[in-house]
Symmetry: C2
């Protein structure tokens, strides 16, 4: 029988993840101790009301409402309450007391990451957050450690399971947005108020976290461009598939050079995008998540798995607990999150992407030339276009559908082109404008 | 200007990976120092002949033939010579001198892993080997750290780019094995002698490494069942696609219980297998690698990327160098590779898989019943079968093709069934027997 030093683990939050983490720590104690090189003793689970009815069973003697005392007596603090406060304060208290902190809380990281990482560095404690992005998919550790000697150029992430489920239903089953959302709600993928998911707030928090880590640069949440997916129509999804694409809500982080100023910087953004059907991200169905990373030497990598369910999040949290325990056993400070690169965070107007623009145009001679000129006059180069046979309008003024794919173009040039198209007498409507990624 | 402590990095091997690692360390020195918290000084590159012509440029003053002196003066030793000796001896010397070692050498790990990990543990040094499996794809670190709190149940890996390229060509382009192999050789994916790849030796080494790590158990190379892919025919690949599968050479590591003895253990094997077209592994084309992991809590995860090219391997090696440097800065021993679980390694006869069996049978009444009885008498349960219209034989004794998919069956029962089928007067030939994975 090997005797291990015991580490005291405090869990903040008695929801489903907290309960699962506690029960796995208790059930698999011996195995985890062998892996960690230290015993992991759950010293308490802080909840708002010890008598609240909960559908999971945490041993009653572990429940407490006194989070602050629990924190002070712990070697490892696991924050699973979510939201900004009191999570931020408690994480700071834990770090300042020298405890390592594990959190699955993307909101507090995206909003207060630098403050928390500084607090950790000052006392030589460590803040782990593998569960904050992509559920159980290891993405934080690969970016921080495995790619530490490489240079990440771009990240394309499907980091929100709810919206991927909805878009996948719209694509594969032909559902409308409303039908797919109802279905997602029924299955528990979407919350009663789905705003954070469908408007891209959740994905934007994850984009800020990934960009900060990948580029060694503080990327504040409010610098993340955000566009939700509520405006994506069934018709757009059908048209995309016909053209060889699927629509995904992507979190995109990239290194880029501002064309006007020549400044090298980074950018993070969330918006719906067309992804070619032969891209690995196009095969990510249902509520799954995947993060596609392009690095200078490593080339293209993809990390794929289930999104953030309770048990998946618990797996990621436990991995972090074992890492923290190993660090406690060996002593010494952890790896500080570094922002040494400190690149400027560039606005959306610095970003160049391709676009697919779908227009209803008059089916008359000379229309194509007119439209081509509208693009070229604004510096937007056309990669390809396809025109349907006349499929609308009336006998006198028949119309056709024109789908244009551009080469990479600046947001501002594209916006000017779209405005010119909308105002053109040969265009009866601009049906959709979608960015194209992964080409 | 921040002053860093300098760490002395010795590189063993001046091939393409060694040269790339050296030049990246020199070129990106400042950035890597910021990430590692320490300067990384290349103190030498050990080669067999300093005057040998090489197509990469390593600064001449760094070249030396005296590997042993180089090792003794280093904090971090990077072994990139491959093969068993002198790699094993040099790694042991480096570890015994207290240096951390980074290796991309799957052969030495698969054959002498326990000896090397023991040597590291005894002096509190660390052996890193992210580059040994899957090139730049982070798979070792996720298995060791991210999933440290979870329980890995199964790994299905496409871990050899050459064979995946060949099978993909056969599937997507209709090449024969010979054509695809020639193509792979021309493109530099296959070596002049492709035996290690096509016969599964390379994949078996990686399977031993992955199984040992995932199951915290020493899985010796000679316990890995190995079947190459040279017997896979163009016809099998075509038939597989028609039936909704693609053929992949898989490295499979799993936890299982021996049906007869009730013993819980682990198994590792390499063989061609049918993979359903909607499985994420089926979308891994060309020379790419991917490792699909099923864990108790995390569910299904996949790690995907380019296989082991020179630059990808260099990326993984650099990530390990930065990790080793951080560990040097913080002090303390590293994480010992643990074999605490020490599960028995079960033979191939303990493994249950599904099979697809393709037969040419007489197209006569009662034949199906006869064949069904041959399966059920040997305890092999049939999940489904499809019979073509008569497509062979002659007018007097027409034959048809029968494809049978079984439920999970033991190797021994399956072997007995195949023998009985071959001997049956209603079967004119057993066309192919392939395992099915990923259902």
């Amino acid at each position: 029988m090997i005797e291990y030093r015991n580490l005291r683990v405090a869990i903040l939050g008695g929801g489903s993840v907290g309960a699962q983490v506690a029960s796995l720590l208790i059930e698999h104690g011996d195995e985890l101790a062998a892996r960690a090189g230290a015993g992991l003793e759950v010293v308490g689970v802080a909840v708002r009301d010890v008598n609240a009815k909960r559908d999971t069973d945490i041993p009653a003697h572990l429940l407490t409402t006194d989070a602050e005392s629990l924190i002070l007596g712990a070697d490892i603090v696991v924050e699973l309450i979510g939201g900004i406060e009191p999570a931020r304060t408690w994480i700071l208290q834990a770090l300042q007391s020298g405890a390592d902190v594990i959190t699955a809380n993307k909101a507090v990281l995206a909003n207060h990451g630098p403050e928390l990482f500084d607090a950790a560095e000052q006392v030589g404690a460590q803040l782990y957050y593998e569960a904050a992005v992509g559920g159980a998919i290891p993405i934080i550790r690969p970016l921080r450690d495995s790619l530490a000697g490489d240079r990440v150029m771009r990240i394309l992430g499907i980091v929100n399971g709810t919206t991927n489920y909805i878009l996948d239903r719209m694509d594969v089953h032909g559902d409308s947005f409303g039908e797919a959302l109802m279905d997602a709600t029924r299955l528990g993928y979407a919350e009663a108020d789905p705003t954070a998911d469908v408007e891209g707030f959740d994905a934007a928090q994850k984009a800020a976290i990934l960009a900060s880590l990948a580029f060694h640069t503080t990327v504040p949440l409010d610098a993340v461009y955000r566009e939700g997916m509520t405006s994506v129509t069934h018709e757009q999804v059908v048209a995309a598939r016909k053209a060889g694409y699927t629509v995904k809500l992507l979190a995109i982080c990239e290194r880029l050079v501002d064309a006007e100023t020549g400044v090298e910087g980074v950018s993070a953004r969330v918006h719906p995008a067309l992804v070619p059907l032969d891209h690995p991200l196009a095969a990510v169905h249902g509520a799954n998540n995947a993060v596609f990373v392009e690095a200078e030497a490593a080339g293209s990598l993809m990390f794929y798995g289930a999104g953030a369910g309770g048990v998946q999040t618990a797996s990621a949290v436990l991995g972090d607990i074992v890492s923290a325990a190993r660090r406690h056993v060996v002593g010494g400070p952890g790896v500080a999150e570094s922002t040494h690169a400190n690149l400027p965070v560039l606005p959306m107007s610095s970003v160049n992407t391709r676009y697919q623009i779908t227009l209803t145009v008059l089916d008359e001679p000379g229309v194509l030339a007119t439209i081509a000129t509208l693009f070229s006059d604004r510096g937007v180069s056309v990669e390809g276009l396809s025109q349907s046979v006349r499929d609308g309008g009336d006998a006198e003024r028949p119309t056709a559908t024109l789908v244009v794919i551009t080469h990479q173009a600046a947001e501002s040039s594209l916006a000017a082109t779209v405005a010119a198209l909308a105002a053109s007498p040969v265009v009866s409507s601009v049906v959709s404008v979608l960015r194209v990624e992964g080409l």
